[in-house]
């Protein structure tokens, strides 16, 4: 098969860049909406903060997997 394009070097860093897009958007939404919720209802701060951190942790996991995979499989 004829090669039309080829990528050499650290593919893991490209993968990490791709993996960071989704969680980046997600974490932005989570904290944006969280801050908005706190501004609207400051008395619910405790519950909102807890759920904010929980959502942040769940979204962040995807970016972190993208970060770890190159180290696990690449080296």
């Amino acid at each position: 098969m004829e090669l039309l394009a080829e990528v050499t070097g650290s593919l893991g860093s490209i993968g990490y860049g791709l993996a960071a897009i989704g969680p980046g958007i997600g974490i932005g939404i989570i904290f944006g909406q969280g801050v908005q919720a706190i501004a609207r209802q400051p008395e619910a701060y405790g519950v909102i903060r807890q759920n904010m951190i929980l959502g942040f942790a769940l979204a962040e996991a995807l970016a972190l997997i993208g970060f770890v995979v190159p180290f696990v499989f690449g080296m």
């Binding site: 942790a57 770890v68 180290f71």
Partner: protein, 276 residues
């Protein structure tokens, strides 16, 4: 302990721009490997006691000593040390256990308390001078913590709700068209029973791993760039400042990850306790 046990195997040594002119020694995964102090074999499997395990044991000992000292002579009107201990206990009980599980969570407060403070102290070792390595940045240790949690909440759910009802709750979300279950049951099973323990451990591991790697990268850059010209000195000082800021940032991340680890433990146990 000799230097070879204290300093990771992958740390670049003896290579500097100024005398030798070799390239920038970017730190890789090797900075997490330590020469074991003591090696032994069990059933043909290699084991080694190195710096991570020793730091883990030191963290355990420090925690036991602190909380025994805080609560040994517990008084109705707490003294200084007891106040700190009680504040930590109440934070875990009210902020983590009761907020997620309600009153039923009180039975699991000892586990959450131990996990939260152990993870926090172990993480904190990452910025303690001379230790400067968080044992949680070795994957095996978060895996062990997550395995304890996994092996707790699955049996708890099986016992509290019965195996069939528990599996139904974990794999079949209610109010979904019947045909969708063909798709949903495998997805829910994989995400709840396979991905959950994996992400639970990877989250802690990757945060500590990334933090340590960042601090080491900028520290190495500060050392490497130091050379007798203005660009080198400016770059070196800038790298050092970034490393210091990253250490301060790490303090925040370490506490946050310990909190997240304990909070997710509470959420998983809550799933096992209450049908929804």
């Amino acid at each position: 302990m000799a230097a070879e046990h204290l300093i990771a195997d992958g740390v670049p040594q003896g290579c500097h721009l100024f005398p030798s002119g070799c390239g920038f020694p970017a730190p890789g995964a090797g900075i997490f490997d330590f020469t074991p102090l003591w090696k032994f074999q069990v059933f043909g499997i290699d084991f080694g006691i190195g710096k991570p395990i020793i730091l883990l044991l030191i963290a355990c000992a420090a925690l036991v000593i602190f909380f025994v000292a805080a609560f040994r002579n517990a008084k109705v009107v707490p003294g200084r040390l007891q106040s700190v201990g009680e504040y930590g206990y109440l934070f875990v009980r009210d902020g983590i256990a009761r907020d997620t599980m309600g009153k039923a969570g009180d039975a699991f407060v000892p586990l959450l308390f131990a996990l939260f403070f152990l993870v926090w102290v172990v993480n904190f070792l990452g910025i303690v001078p001379f230790a400067q390595f968080a044992p949680t940045s070795r994957f095996a240790i978060p895996v062990a913590f997550a395995a304890i949690v996994y092996l707790l909440w699955v049996p708890v759910g099986m016992i509290k709700q019965g195996p069939g009802k528990f599996m139904k709750m974990m794999t079949m979300p209610p109010d979904v068209p019947k045909l969708m279950y063909v798709l949903l049951i495998p997805i829910e099973f994989v995400s709840n029973f396979l991905v959950r323990p994996f992400t639970h451990s990877v989250r802690l591991f990757a945060n500590m791993f990334a933090g340590h790697l960042l601090i080491v990268s900028f520290s190495v850059a500060a050392w490497y760039l130091w050379s007798p010209n203005i660009i080198g000195i400016a770059g070196s000082i800038a790298s050092l400042l970034v490393a210091i800021v990253l250490v301060l940032f790490e303090i925040l991340i370490q506490a946050l990850q310990a909190y997240v680890f304990a909070l997710l433990t509470a959420v998983y146990i809550n799933d096992a306790l209450h049908a929804h």
